[in-house]
Structures are given as structure tokens and as C-alpha cells.
């Protein structure tokens, strides 16, 4: 990929590889779904050495870039991380013999499916997208081979992450994803992009330092390195695992862009849309929550766990509120992502068995719906040249199929009977039996209603037709259509078959860890299925009304309105009507609420840190 320069060749390679990845993921599913937890041993010595060297090279690379761009925070953090890494290698790794390096359990399979299917779909999409992108932005240097190369490296890193049992390996893949994100955000090499890339970098490095600290702590406790095996660590229970769990969860918090670290995700929206779809909603940030959900059994019932959950919950509520005041489509999606990640972490932090079930369900539904939305927004942006929601009026006429797909994606985010509502419903039912659950229910109730507001606003904007418009949809490329159709189909299908997913993959996993599991009641499932079918039939009702309907102009106090919503104003001047949504920035403004969220979360983090120190000492 990196070396190939020709466009057509590249396209073919990408499509073939993407399909291959997708198929392999499915094969993994078929192979592993009923086998419980499988553990594989791989000779780790050589691999670890290679990893160490790669990490050092990458550290040097980042150091060089940090110095060149004069980003002191980055420099400090990468130096700190590198020192810790070298310290770890020198002091400990000689004595370590870790056997069980790779494992496969249902949760890994779910993550692998998400990465494999959605990831490869997005890669296929980005071929067409990048062509148009460079067509529009001629000033950006065409480094597409690098772009695609990194995309695939990233996919491999994600696979590595979810299949690794050895925490050192997890860390390695973690850092690779950080660097991929850094390089991809800065793709356009504009000043804003570079700054945001470094912002993402230092926040993730902060997490990396914490991760490294956890590894060192584990190595100090048990020099043979047994505890570095993830499944072993979790099963040893809270006394031992809590400190590294919290530290690694901190790393997860930075990677998942919860408050107070959310600004890197919103800043990363300057990257091309496939990057946003892949890294910053479906997969990389999911790695952050993945690791937190893995540690949920360790966190459940502890104060630190509760604090982490509160950070998640606060993020959910405040990010939802902030999203109300945003009119940049990608920022709305970014804040919605942050909010949902916060919700997943809130479930994981409290960590009872049913909450873990909910968390995994949320991961699945969110990944699919959000990636669909990002891709649609990317296509729309390419066509109409704007990311502003206010410019998307009448999209149902201009780009009917994309508008409907966006509709389905958005419905998938907040409407019954689609996925996210199922998860929110299950979350409420789960929190109610959990300790301190009431706080989280309140957060869910208030934050949830905020999400209703901003999604419906957007939906309304798409369907309001204000002037005669032409269809501009036809120039969208074939590959993009295929991807979008598949993703839309997935949104609906997963909603239909989620009981199946639940019983095959999620419930056994939860059962394994907690000894009990949960599911939605059968009666409710049938009702939801009925509602979904009803929802799909309803649009056909429009056919019944064709004959009897008479058309009239909208009411504008009698002002005659021509087709283009111009009316004769006073003084005989012809004015155009402009309607825009409520953004309520005085109440829900980004600045104000971010201040609130950041301070709350810093306070919580500080509290957690103090507790942690107490535990260590």
C-alpha cells in the first residue's frame, strides 16, 4: 500500500483486502463463538523485543516531531513514557516469562467483528471519499498512499489489541493506535490540523504514561510477569488488580476522550471524514472503553470504580447538553460519541453483571449507527461543501437516499425501537439495582432527553423543503453507495437480531465472568420487533394519500410565498425566509459547560488519585 502509487491499483488492493478482512472476522466468529475463552501461547521473547524496538523508534520519531513543532507537552510526555519503557525493559523483562499471550473470547470476537466489518467498509468508502476530497482541496498534499497504509496498520493494531492477553502487547498496540490517530488527524498539514494532532497526541500519551506506570507496578508486585496476563489479572480479584486497573482505566479515559480530555476528539474532526468514522467513533475510542469494560469486574463495588463511572456519567450528561448548541455536523457527532462513550464507561465503572451486558450492547449499537452517520455526513459535505447543519435543509429533496440513510442512522441513535434506546432502557433497568444507581438514572434521564432534542432538530432540518432544489446525488460514487447501503442494512438488522447476538456472544461472556447473566424479557422483545416492523411499513402509507391530497403553500400570515420562499416584505422589497434551529448557546454553550464538566471530572480524577495513593501506601 505504502509503495503503490497508481490509483486504480490501489483501489483494487483496498477492496480486496477489505473484503478479506471482513471475511476473516466472520470466520473468527464462526470458529470461536461457542468455545468459551481460548488462550493461545506464542513465543513472546522475539516478539517482545521487536515491539520494544519499534516503540523506541516511534518514541524518537515523536520526539523529533515534537521538538520541530515546539510542542513542549508532547516532548515531556514522550520522554517520560520512553524512560518508563526503557526502565521497564531493563529492570523487569529479563525475568518475565509470559505464556498466554493471545486469547479469544466472545468480547474479543465482538470487537473484532466491529473492527473487521465496519473498519473494512470504511476503508472501501474512503477510496471514493479521498478522491473527491483532494479534488476539492487542491492545496493539500496528496499523501494518499500514506493515508491508506496507516489505515490498514491501524486495523491490524486494533485486531492485535483485542486479541492480546499480554498487557505489554496491549500497550504496544495501544501506542500504535495513538500514532496512527496522530498522523491521520494531521493529514491535511494545515496549522489547525497539526495543532489538533498534537493535542490528541499528548492527551493519549498521558494515558500511555499511566499505562506504563501500571505495567511497572504489576512488574514490581510480581516479577515473573504472571500478572501481566489480562485474564489472570482480572481473575485475581480486587486487592491486587485495583491499582493497575485504575491506572489503565485512566489511559482508557484519555483514549475515549471523556471529560476533561474531550477536546482532542472534537478537535480531531478536522481530519477527513473516514478518519473520524473509523478512529474517532467506531474503533479507536472503542479500544479505550474496551479496556475499561474488561476491568469492570475489578472495578465493581469499589469507590474508584464509582468515581470512574461518575466521570463517565458526567461526560454523558454534559456532552449531550453541549451537542444541543452545536451547528457543525461533525462536532455534533463528536459530542454524541463522547456522550455515549461516557455512558459505556458509567456502566462499566459500576460494573454489575447486567451493566456489563448493557455496556457491550451499547458498544455494538453505537459503533454501527455512528459510523453510518459519519459516512453520510462526509458524503453530504463533499456534495454541498458545508458541514453546517443549517445548510442541510431540504436534503431529502437534494440527496434523497442519503437523507433517508441519515434518518435511519439518527433514529438508530435515539428512537425506539432501535438500538441505543434498547441500551438506554436496559441501562436504566440495570442501574436501578446497582449501588448509587439513582445518580446515574438521573444522569441518563436528563442527558437522554437532551439527545432527543438535538437529533430531532437535525432530522427536522433535513426534511424541511424550503425552496425548489435539484437533485445533486447522482455524482456520488459506486463504492460509497455499496458501503452506505450495507451499513444502513446493518443498523436495522442488528436491531432485529440483537437478541441473537446477546444470547450467542454477550450472555456467555458475562456468565463466564460473573456467574450470572441477564437479557431482556421475551415479551418486550416481541413488542419491539412488532414496532420495528410497523415502523418499516408506515412509509408506504404515503401511497394511499396520493389521490385525495391537495397542496397549499405553508402559512406565512397570508404573505404570498413563491416557490423559493420569498415573500413581498414591506416597502415592496422581496425577502427570503430563513428558518434555523434553536441552539441556545447561552444555556448549553460549549465553553460554559465544558468548564463545568472539566472541573467536575478533574476533581473526580484527583479524588481517585488520592484514593489510589492511599491504596498503594
Amino acid at each position: 500500500m505504502l509503495v503503490g502509487r497508481k490509483d486504480s491499483g490501489r483501489k483494487a488492493i483496498i477492496q480486496v483486502s477489505a473484503i478479506a478482512i471482513g471475511i476473516v472476522s466472520l470466520l473468527v466468529l464462526l470458529f470461536g463463538y461457542n468455545k468459551g475463552t481460548l488462550i493461545f501461547s506464542v513465543n513472546s521473547e522475539l516478539v517482545s523485543q521487536i515491539m520494544f524496538f519499534i516503540e523506541l523508534i516511534l518514541a524518537a520519531f515523536i520526539l523529533y516531531l515534537g521538538i520541530r513543532h515546539r510542542k513542549s507537552l508532547t516532548v515531556i510526555l514522550i520522554l517520560a513514557q520512553a524512560c518508563l519503557l526503557v526502565f521497564f525493559e531493563i529492570r523487569f523483562s529479563g525475568n518475565m516469562h509470559i505464556d498466554n499471550n493471545i486469547f479469544l473470547d466472545q468480547f474479543s470476537i465482538i470487537m473484532a467483528l466491529i473492527v473487521g466489518i465496519i473498519g473494512s467498509l470504511i476503508c472501501v468508502y474512503s477510496v471514493g471519499y479521498m478522491e473527491t476530497y483532494h479534488h476539492h482541496y487542491k492545496e493539500i498534499r496528496d499523501r494518499r498512499n500514506l493515508f491508506f497504509g496507516i489505515l490498514f496498520i491501524f486495523l491490524s493494531a486494533m485486531f492485535g489489541l483485542v486479541f492480546s492477553n499480554n498487557l505489554i502487547w496491549v500497550f504496544f498496540f495501544w501506542e500504535i493506535t495513538t500514532i496512527c490517530s496522530f498522523l491521520l488527524i494531521g493529514y491535511s498539514q494545515s496549522e489547525e490540523a497539526t495543532n489538533n494532532a498534537f493535542l490528541a497526541l499528548w492527551m493519549n500519551l498521558l494515558g500511555g504514561v499511566a499505562f506504563m506506570a501500571a505495567l511497572i507496578y504489576l512488574a514490581i508486585i510480581d516479577p515473573t510477569g504472571q500478572l501481566l496476563g489480562l485474564n489472570y489479572l482480572i481473575s485475581t480479584g480486587k486487592a491486587v488488580a485495583l491499582v493497575p486497573a485504575v491506572l489503565i482505566c485512566f489511559a482508557g479515559i484519555t483514549k475515549a476522550a471523556l471529560m476533561p480530555f474531550s477536546s482532542w476528539l472534537t478537535g480531531a474532526m478536522v481530519a477527513p471524514t473516514p478518519v473520524s468514522a473509523l478512529l474517532h467513533s467506531s474503533t479507536m475510542v472503542k479500544a479505550g472503553v474496551y479496556i475499561i469494560v474488561r476491568f469492570a469486574p475489578v472495578l465493581s463495588g469499589t469507590t474508584e470504580g464509582l468515581i470512574i463511572a461518575l466521570i463517565g456519567g458526567t461526560t454523558f450528561a454534559l456532552a449531550s447538553f453541549i451537542a444541543i448548541s452545536q451547528n457543525n455536523a461533525k462536532k455534533v457527532l463528536a459530542y454524541s460519541t463522547i456522550a455515549n462513550l461516557g455512558l459505556i464507561v458509567a456502566c462499566a465503572g459500576v460494573g454489575t453483571y447486567n451493566l456489563m451486558w448493557v455496556a457491550i450492547l451499547l458498544i455494538v449499537f453505537h459503533a454501527i449507527a455512528k459510523s453510518l452517520l459519519f459516512l453520510c455526513v462526509g458524503t453530504v459535505e463533499n456534495r454541498i461543501g458545508s458541514r453546517n447543519i443549517e445548510d442541510m435543509g431540504g436534503l431529502i429533496v437534494r440527496m434523497p437516499k442519503i437523507a433517508i440513510m441519515m434518518f435511519i442512522g439518527m433514529a438508530g441513535m435515539f428512537l425506539a425501537p432501535f438500538g441505543m434506546v434498547i441500551s438506554k432502557w436496559a441501562a436504566i433497568e440495570a442501574f436501578i439495582t446497582a449501588p448509587f444507581g439513582l445518580i446515574f438514572i438521573a444522569i441518563l434521564a436528563f442527558g437522554g432527553s437532551a439527545t432527543v432534542f438535538f437529533w430531532s432538530k437535525w432530522m427536522g432540518k433535513i426534511i424541511s423543503v424550503m425552496r425548489e432544489q435539484t437533485v445533486i446525488e447522482d455524482t456520488v460514487k459506486k463504492e460509497k453507495w455499496a458501503v452506505l447501503y450495507i451499513l444502513t442494512g446493518l443498523v436495522v438488522t442488528v436491531c432485529l437480531i440483537f437478541p441473537l447476538i446477546s444470547s450467542i456472544l454477550i450472555e456467555p461472556f458475562v456468565l463466564n465472568i460473573y456467574g450470572q447473566t441477564t437479557r431482556l424479557a421475551q415479551a418486550n422483545l416481541s413488542i419491539m420487533l412488532m414496532m420495528l416492523c410497523l415502523l418499516m411499513i408506515m412509509p408506504f402509507s404515503m401511497l394511499f394519500y396520493r389521490k385525495s391530497t391537495k397542496y397549499a403553500p405553508p402559512y406565512m400570515a397570508g404573505r404570498p410565498v413563491e416557490g423559493h420562499m420569498r415573500f413581498a416584505g414591506s416597502m415592496g422589497v422581496s425577502r427570503e425566509l430563513v428558518l434555523s434551529n434553536y441552539y441556545m448557546t447561552s444555556l448549553f454553550g460549549e465553553e460554559r459547560l465544558f468548564m463545568v464538566g472539566a472541573s467536575l471530572c478533574w476533581a473526580l480524577l484527583l479524588f481517585a488519585g488520592i484514593l489510589l495513593v492511599g491504596v498503594i501506601l
Partner: protein
């Protein structure tokens, strides 16, 4: 029997009235006369209305507005011209901007002359309009023409 008689909803529009007739229309809607007991409601929205009450004559500026509003009322509908200005232009008939009574622009079904028309006449006019409304409803079903009716003596 149509239900239009049981629940006729009004839309009141002041074309270029001096507001004398408007005050009388509103007086008809007050608890003293309480037209809601007949199911009459004053809506402000043409799409919800059955009866279009217009006061004042048509001038150059509100000609389009009148047509636009009239077209937004769903069938079956009746138009009542309240006051002599709406009927024929009244004392402003010779003004440079007045085009005349509203029947120059939209078809009128009931005329209620007066300056200002009294609430009792207005209610009378509405009741007559209801009969016409019923005819129109039946006509809508069978698609035939209906006639227009004049009412009331000037008092």
C-alpha cells in the same frame, strides 16, 4: 347531515377595515353572545377554518394576501363579507387604493351590510352561511354548483 353545522370554525381577516366591524365580530365571540356554544371557534389559521369572515375593502396591498389566505382554506368553505366596506367598498369606495368590495377578488357567499354591522346580524350571517356550507359539502360529494345568497337589511 353534515357536521360542518355543528362545528364551524371561523377565520377573521381585516382587509382594510376601520376596525369597527372587527370590534363587532369580536363582540360576537365574547361570553355575552358566546358563540362557542354552537361549536364556533375563532382560529387564526386558514388551514383549520371553514368560514372566512372578512371586514373592510380590498386595497392594492392586501389583494395578494386575501387570495393567498383564501386558497389555504380547505374545501368546503364559505366567505362572509362583514360590513358595507367588504360588500362594496363602503364610504371608502372612491379612494385611490381601494379596489372595492372583496367580491372583486374572491367569491363571496354571504353579505352582511352595516356600518358597523351589529353582532346579531353577524351571527345571522354565520347561520345563513352554515346552510350554504352544507350545500357545498353535498356539492363536493356530487360536484355541482351552488348559488350565492345575500342577507340582512341594513339597520
Amino acid at each position: 347531515m353534515t357536521y360542518l353545522k355543528k362545528s364551524p370554525w371561523l377565520l377573521h381577516y381585516d382587509a382594510s377595515s376601520c376596525n369597527g366591524c372587527d370590534i363587532e365580530v369580536l363582540a360576537a365571540l365574547t361570553p355575552l353572545y358566546d358563540v362557542e356554544r354552537f361549536g364556533i371557534i375563532n382560529t387564526g389559521n386558514p388551514k383549520h377554518a371553514d368560514i372566512f369572515l372578512v371586514t373592510g375593502g380590498v386595497n392594492v396591498q392586501n389583494k395578494q394576501v386575501l387570495i393567498n389566505t383564501y386558497e389555504q382554506i380547505p374545501e368546503p368553505k364559505v366567505v362572509i363579507a362583514i360590513g358595507i366596506c367588504a360588500t362594496s367598498g363602503g364610504i371608502y369606495r372612491e379612494c385611490y387604493n381601494i379596489l372595492g368590495g372583496i367580491d372583486k377578488i374572491i367569491p363571496v357567499d354571504v353579505y352582511v351590510p352595516g356600518c358597523a354591522a351589529r353582532p346579531e346580524s353577524i351571527i345571522d350571517g354565520v347561520v345563513t352561511a352554515l346552510g350554504i356550507l352544507e350545500q357545498k359539502r353535498l356539492a363536493m360529494k356530487t360536484k355541482t354548483q351552488t348559488k350565492m345568497v345575500k342577507v340582512g337589511d341594513a339597520r
